[in-house]
Symmetry: C2
Subunit: 138 residues, 2 copies
Amino acid sequence: MIKKIDHLGIAVRDLDASIKRYEDLTGNPPAHRETVKEQAVDTAFFPLGDVKLELLKGISQESAVSRFIDKRGEGLHHICFEVEELTTAMTALTALGFEFVNSKSAQGAGDTKVAFIHPRSTGGILFELVEHPKPTLE
Amino acid sequence: MIKKIDHLGIAVRDLDASIKRYEDLTGNPPAHRETVKEQAVDTAFFPLGDVKLELLKGISQESAVSRFIDKRGEGLHHICFEVEELTTAMTALTALGFEFVNSKSAQGAGDTKVAFIHPRSTGGILFELVEHPKPTLE
């Protein structure tokens, strides 16, 4: 059902300072930066093998990431799994007892579909599921 | 310096119940189970692409994992990066301002060498570095 880990979402207070830190760790600059307005976050991506580290900084006090940092401090915010078909995965995982934060999927960055599994049904970890757009035939 | 994410360490209270949960999520049984006496943990590994999820249950109250759960509850315990040469990586990262929990590397499972970077120098995440044994020529 789950194909692979897509990325790890890491909540940070200061995006520029954190980018410097992950440049030091990985030896590379971020491959991509993006503001995702719907989630109220600024992001920076560091690819590492076939997984990405995604730094997340809230850009408003209502951002889930800002609230997470207020409560728990900086650190891992979520683990994202890639799935083939998001709706199919949500139905199957719901039948197995996993609870989704929202019953419907949402639009993610880069034309993806995303949904979050509530930490109370996973042992304390916020899991995101992502379905990437299918490549179109030329 | 860092080649890839080797595994994600996940602290759990009940290993059998958690194995059931990750079998449901991944669609597969654990590839490997092992008791690591030096770390006082029972572990189970779920490979996912080129990364492994490592479930960790403390087997004594002195286990770092048991203490982590007492303080923070279940959840992500550490992110492990694979490096080519652990000593070289430790020297380079120390020069960049990262602080190691212990100044010397330790013996890990399966003849690996491991070291942990203190969360206070990483933005709240415990990073492990692992050097795998080099394949020997026949």
